[in-house]
């Protein structure tokens, strides 16, 4: 297995306070890694730092290597060439993550047009294909719809289709199901898993819900206050957690998920 993403001693400082503090991990090609932690643990900021989307005023140090190339401190232009092509993201809230005045088909094919120079007509055809691939009903028509005409789950499927349009090597999913209701959550998780496995896409799955993550990933990192407190294969972490914080998260998951997990 070759290394795809290598994060080494990553630190993100905002206003003098480190929100991510010396985080290191590796994602191999096709590997699936979960990052668990409560809000404020620095998991989302870690993801944003990888794609170079930290907010203004955030200072990023350490190393992020994708395909062996260093990303931190890269010029915006060369970063933009990677985003959507090698690394793509799925965001938390599908209600706000799509442009409200652009037809979803055009949004899905936007990465293709940006990175592959796909023509308008070809892009429209591929958008319909992608709609079908992520299980959107009536793909022809859905591609012509505007985001407000779709349900939350459908919109998140659009977000996934958009992220996977260029078949990236790494998909970062930042709490992609948190804003959805539980039945839809399960469907979206199943879809995500299926697509990632069939494409051999590496996955970095970020969530506060350890139960949810355990169904999709092989390994898990547990983060707290910007640091990694525990790491290991899913079975080990859920079966025999060492750190008290991990146990706390597991208890919380058991209490709320009612045996939804195996």
């Amino acid at each position: 297995m070759t290394t795809l993403l290598e994060v080494e001693d990553l630190t993100v400082t905002i206003g003098g306070r480190p929100v991510v503090d010396g985080v290191s991990f590796v994602v191999v090609e096709g590997g699936r890694l979960g990052v668990i932690g409560e809000s404020g643990s620095g998991k989302t900021m870690t993801a944003l730092a990888i794609v170079g989307l930290t907010p203004d005023g955030a200072e990023v140090t350490g190393r992020v290597r994708l395909d062996g190339e260093d990303l931190v401190g890269r010029a915006d232009r060369s970063y933009a060439a990677l985003r959507g092509e090698r690394v793509a993201m799925v965001f938390q809230d599908p209600r706000t993550a799509l442009n409200p005045v652009m037809r979803v088909g055009r949004q899905i094919s936007e990465p293709l047009r940006l990175h592959r120079g796909t023509g308008r007509r070809e892009a429209a055809r591929l958008a319909v294909e992608l709609c079908e691939r992520v299980g959107l009903p009536d793909p022809e028509r859905t591609a012509r719809a505007y985001p407000h005409q779709l349900s939350g789950g459908q919109r998140q499927r659009v977000g996934i289709a958009m992220a996977l349009a260029c078949r990236p090597a790494l998909l970062i999913a930042d709490e992609p199901t948190t804003a959805l209701d539980v039945t839809v959550q399960a469907e979206v998780m199943a879809l995500l898993r299926e697509l990632v496995v069939s494409d051999g896409t590496a996955l970095l799955f970020i969530s506060h819900d350890i139960a949810l993550v355990s169904g999709v990933v092989d390994d898990v990192l547990v983060m707290r206050d910007g640091r990694i407190v525990e790491r290991g294969p899913v079975a080990t972490i859920t079966g025999a957690p060492e750190h008290p914080y991990t146990r706390q998260l597991l208890d919380a998951a058991r209490r709320t998920s009612y045996g939804r997990r195996s």
Binding site: V51, L53, D76, R77, A80, A81, L82, R83, G84, E85, A88, M89, F91, D93, T96, A97, L98, N99, P100, V101, M102, E110, P111, L114, H115, G135, L136, P137, D138, R141, T142, R144, A145, Y146, H148, Q149, L150, S151, G153, Q154, R157, G159, M162, A163, V184, E187
Partner: protein, 315 residues
């Protein structure tokens, strides 16, 4: 996953959307009449609008002279038709210039680094403080009166007002999640401006531009009423000025040029409101509603924040 919650709207023409509401219909009709009058006047008018006929003076409305004649016996319909050219030209030039000035300044002041953006915003605020009509007077004094000078002044004057609205709108759009989605897909700043920012502020800008067009119609009439445009340029304002001298004797002659100004102003306002609904997919298919709060070009002096507070004690 079963439901598309509403049927996605099929590809529909803008004009079709426009025609769905009454304001859209009336606005399109009024502006259509203005354009038609301007175009027709280029090739045909019932009489030569400058032909003095002393024996035909102050004729009432008739088949021969649908709008009557003035004190020199000149046909009023012909004058109104020819005047439409000037009105339309000023409105179009002003809107184009205001859009260029407003969008450029507004977008730049919102997306450039903080220091540059804020400085630009201050410059915009200072320019807004100059009343558009006074600016027009200065331009006419400095450059000589012409349709171009008037349009230049109105375009710049209303463009800076638009810039402030655009700045606020762009700042709002920049914080939206879909901008991050776009960047995460590899979209560059300029591409995001074209594909995401401008389409999302379009409805607001259209309402503002329609107000600016209406303002331009009124301002052109006012400036030529004051005699600031050359005598050779036909204008509704100039007609009103010469006719108002005899308003007590022949009030009827003022009705048609007056209605022309009102109609053009109303037309642009209604058209703008309907266009906003047609452009924004979220508003399509609804009946026209009262437009949201916007800082009107005309009413900005009456902003409650600026207006003096009246009544010290009594409640």
């Amino acid at each position: 996953m079963s439901e598309p919650s509403e049927s996605p709207s099929e590809r529909s023409s803008w004009f079709g959307e426009l025609w769905r509401s009454w304001p859209g219909r009336i606005g399109a009709a009024l502006v259509g009449i203005l354009v038609l009058a301007a175009v027709v006047s280029l090739v045909w008018t019932p009489y030569d609008p400058k032909q003095v006929e002393p024996r035909q003076k102050w004729l009432p409305v008739s088949w021969g002279h649908p709008f009557g004649t003035d004190g020199a016996g000149k046909d009023l319909l012909s004058q109104v038709l020819v005047g439409a050219r000037t009105t339309l030209l000023v409105a179009v030039l002003t809107v184009v210039l205001a859009a260029v000035v407003g969008l450029t300044l507004g977008v730049l002041s919102a997306i450039t680094p903080r220091l540059v953006g804020e400085s630009l915003a201050y410059v915009i605020d200072v320019l807004i403080a100059l009343p558009t009509l006074i600016l027009a007077l200065v331009f006419v004094a400095a450059l000589g009166g012409s349709v171009w000078t008037v349009s230049l002044a109105l375009g710049i004057g209303s463009g800076v007002v638009l810039a402030r609205v655009v700045r606020a709108e762009v700042s709002r759009v920049l914080t939206q999640d879909y901008m991050i989605t776009a960047t995460a897909s590899g979209s560059s700043t300029w591409r995001s401006i074209w594909r995401h920012i401008l389409p999302n502020i379009a409805s607001t800008v259209i309402v503002q531009l329609s107000l600016i067009a209406a303002l331009a119609v009124l301002a052109e009439a006012a400036l030529s009423f004051l005699g600031l445009t050359p005598v050779s340029t036909p204008s509704w304002g100039r007609m009103l000025e010469s006719l108002q001298q005899t308003i007590t004797v022949h009030p009827g002659a003022l009705v048609f040029p007056g209605l022309a100004v009102v109609g053009a102003t109303l037309g642009f306002n209604l058209l703008g409101d309907a266009l906003r609904d047609a452009v924004d997919p979220r508003l399509r298919g609804r009946s026209a509603t009262v437009s949201p709060v916007f800082s009107s070009v005309v009413d900005r002096v009456e902003d409650p924040a600026i207006a003096p507070v009246s009544g010290g004690g009594g409640t």
